[in-house]
C-alpha cells in the first residue's frame, strides 16, 4: 500500500512538471537552425526527395549505424539466451493445431506479393515514405505469415545468417568508401546523383537502404524464429 501511495505521489509530481512544461511551449511557426539547412540543401546536395531518408542515411548516418548495431546485438543476445541445449529433441509440433486449408492457400498466394511490397518500400526509400527499417519489417512479417500458417515451417539459418552478415559487411564498406571517394563516412555521393525522382538517383542511398532492409528483415525474422522455438 505504501508503494502504491509512493507511486501516486511520484506521478502527481511528474504531472505537475509536465503541466508546467506544457504551458510554456510555444508552437514554432517556421523551420529554424539545422532543419532549415537540411530542407534547403537536402534535395540539391543529395538528390533525395524524402528528406527524412536523407537525414537518416546520410546526415545522421552514424546514428543509423549505431541503430543497426543495437538491433544486431539484441538479435544475437536473444539467439544466445534462447539457444537449444545439446542433444535436444525436436519439439512435438503435432501438439499444435494445424491451420485451415484456406489460410494455407492464402499464404501461398500472398507471401510473394508481401515480400515484393517490402522490396518496393526499401528500394523507393528516397522517393516515398519508408525505407530499410519499414521494408525489413514487412519482409519479416511475410516470414511470420509462413510461421503462422505452417507450424512445422523451419527457417534456413545458414542462408539467413549469410545474407545478414554480407549486407552488414557491404554497408560498412560503402561507408568507408565514402571517406575515400567523397566527403566523409557514409557520404552517398560516391555514385552519380542521377535524375531527381527515378529509382537510380540520390547516389548510394538506394543501395544502402537495400542493404539495411535485407539486414533488418533477416534479423527480425531470426528474432521471431528464436522466440518461437520450444527450448
Amino acid at each position: 500500500m505504501i508503494k502504491r501511495l509512493f507511486s501516486f505521489v511520484l506521478l502527481t509530481g511528474l504531472g505537475f512538471v509536465f503541466y508546467y512544461a506544457l504551458t510554456n511551449i510555444t508552437a514554432s511557426r517556421e523551420l529554424t537552425g539545422v532543419s532549415a539547412e537540411y530542407a534547403e540543401r537536402g534535395a540539391a546536395e543529395l538528390g533525395a526527395a524524402n528528406l527524412v531518408t536523407a537525414i537518416v542515411v546520410t546526415y545522421r548516418g552514424l546514428d543509423t549505424l549505431g541503430e543497426v548495431s543495437v538491433l544486431f546485438l539484441a538479435a544475437t543476445g536473444i539467439a544466445v539466451l534462447l539457444r537449444r541445449k545439446k542433444g535436444y529433441v525436436q519439439a512435438r509440433s503435432e501438439d499444435k493445431r494445424g491451420s485451415s486449408e484456406i489460410l494455407k492457400t492464402g499464404t501461398d498466394f500472398l507471401v510473394p506479393i508481401i515480400v515484393m511490397f517490402g522490396v518496393y518500400i526499401f528500394m523507393n526509400g528516397h522517393l516515398t515514405p519508408g525505407g530499410g527499417f519499414q521494408g525489413g519489417a514487412v519482409v519479416a512479417s511475410a516470414v511470420m505469415l509462413q510461421f503462422l500458417s505452417n507450424p512445422s515451417y523451419r527457417l534456413n539459418h545458414t542462408v539467413f545468417g549469410f545474407i545478414e552478415s554480407m549486407s552488414g559487411f557491404f554497408y560498412v564498406s560503402i561507408g568507408i568508401l565514402g571517406i575515400v571517394l567523397a566527403g566523409g563516412f557514409l557520404d552517398n555521393r560516391i555514385l552519380p546523383l542521377g535524375n531527381f525522382g527515378s529509382i537510380l538517383s540520390a547516389g548510394a542511398i538506394p543501395v544502402i537502404y537495400t542493404l539495411i532492409g535485407l539486414k533488418v528483415g533477416t534479423e527480425l525474422a531470426g528474432i521471431l524464429d528464436n522466440m518461437r522455438r520450444d527450448a
Binding site: 493445431r97 491451420s99 489460410l103 516515398t128 515514405p129 514487412v138 512479417s141 503462422l148 518461437r228
Partner: protein
C-alpha cells in the same frame, strides 16, 4: 456550391471516426478476448478508410503507401491472435 464535395468529405470523415469509436467501445467492453479480436479486425479495416480520407484531405498521394503497410500488418496481426487462441502458434 463549389464547396459541397469538401463538406461531404468532412461529413464522411466524421462517420468513419464515429465507427472507429464504436469498435473501440466494443474492444473495451468485450467480455471475452475473441470479442476484442473481432473489434480489432473491424477497427483496422475502418481505419484504412480513415487513412485514405486523410490522404485525400492532405492531398498527398504518398500517404497511400502507409495504408497498404497498415493493411498487411493488421491482417497478419489478426491471424496471429486467432492462431494463438486456437493454440497453433
Amino acid at each position: 456550391m463549389d464547396k459541397l464535395p469538401q463538406i461531404i468529405l468532412q461529413i464522411s470523415t466524421y462517420f468513419v471516426s464515429a465507427g472507429i469509436i464504436l469498435t473501440a467501445l466494443r474492444l473495451i467492453k468485450g467480455p471475452t478476448m475473441a470479442d476484442r479480436v473481432v473489434a480489432l479486425d473491424a477497427f483496422t479495416v475502418i481505419s484504412i478508410s480513415l487513412i485514405v480520407l486523410i490522404a485525400c484531405i492532405a492531398g498527398r498521394v504518398i500517404f497511400l503507401d502507409v495504408g497498404v503497410v497498415y493493411a498487411i500488418l493488421s491482417f497478419i496481426g489478426v491471424v496471429a491472435v486467432a492462431r494463438h487462441i486456437e493454440g497453433g502458434l
